[in-house]
């Protein structure tokens, strides 16, 4: 195809003028159509991926807040966090996606599992992990969700993402260490404080 490119370019004027150059025009049309169909296929693939991920996340999220077994809730939380990481990758935010996997699935979940193991005597389902009165909580959550969903649908409507949303790790690093350096340092100090605080609170005297 590349070897043909100069030829087709030279013949383009003729074929556009309606000259009988059947092979050349078909090559031209193939060239013109190929990007469009691939973009369309990409859009379809993105949407299918989004809805599959969203379905998994909603089911797992529902189980996180309803599962009677604490360990199962933690394992379902992994599915939600992995889904969020996949959505980040879908949006082209590669560094945040990888960080989500490393920090959340790698560290936070392990911390949760340690906490569960240290605070539970019997393994298996606990019957008393929920309040008996679920209706007020359901109402409050439904209200929050309904108001938020209504307002985002009202504001964004059918606004779409730009075609190219990919950002590289390079750009993120540049931004953190120039524009947001003060916030970065503050977060570093916060992490140190949290580390020392957790040790002081949890140690045995």
């Amino acid at each position: 195809m590349d070897a043909l490119a100069p030829t087709t370019g030279a013949l383009a004027a003729d074929s556009l003028a309606g000259a009988a150059l059947a092979p050349t025009t078909s090559v031209l049309f193939a060239d013109a159509l190929a990007p469009t169909t691939s973009v369309l296929a990409l859009l379809v693939a993105q949407n299918v991926a989004f809805y599959v991920i969203a379905a998994i996340m909603l089911f797992a999220g529902f189980r996180v807040v309803t599962s009677p077994n604490v360990v199962h809730a933690a394992l379902y939380l992994i599915a939600v966090l992995a889904g969020v990481a996949a959505l980040f990758l879908l949006l082209g935010a590669e560094f945040v996606g990888i960080t989500q996997v490393l920090i959340y699935i790698g560290a936070v979940i392990v911390l949760f599992l340690f906490g569960i193991m240290l605070t539970r005597s019997p393994m298996g389902a606990d019957t008393e992990v929920d309040h008996p009165r679920r209706l007020p909580a359901t109402l409050a959550a439904a209200l929050v969700g309904a108001v938020t969903i209504y307002s985002v649908l009202d504001y964004f409507g059918d606004e779409q993402f730009p075609k190219e949303t990919r950002t590289t790790t390079n750009e993120v690093a540049d931004s953190i260490f120039s524009d947001y350096i003060i916030a970065f340092e503050a977060v570093s100090v916060l992490l140190l404080a949290a580390l020392i605080g957790a040790i002081v609170v949890a140690r045995r005297d």
């Binding site: 959505l87 929920d130 985002v152 964004f156 949290a194």
Partner: protein, 99 residues
Amino acid sequence: MYVSQFAVLAAVLFAMGVYGILVRRNGILVLMSVELILNSVNINLVAFGALRDSIAGEVFALFVITVAAAEVGVGLAIVLLIYRNRRSVDLSEMDLMKG
């Protein structure tokens, strides 16, 4: 992809987290629900960053992840301390400051 897809998914996750915080009695499960809420906010931050073609969304999502990790560390330490003192992490028994 539509922006409202991501925003609605994040809103539903947020509502689930609110339900979990209100209805759970185990301290660790409440912390997990807080994680659900923080993650839904992160989806919104990254999505709006992509929409406005701004890197700030991703940077703030990273900060939220960091703060969430710190929060889980301190929160679990507190839960462990409560368990050590009272042999239970049932939040409905924590009524020491109830008037």
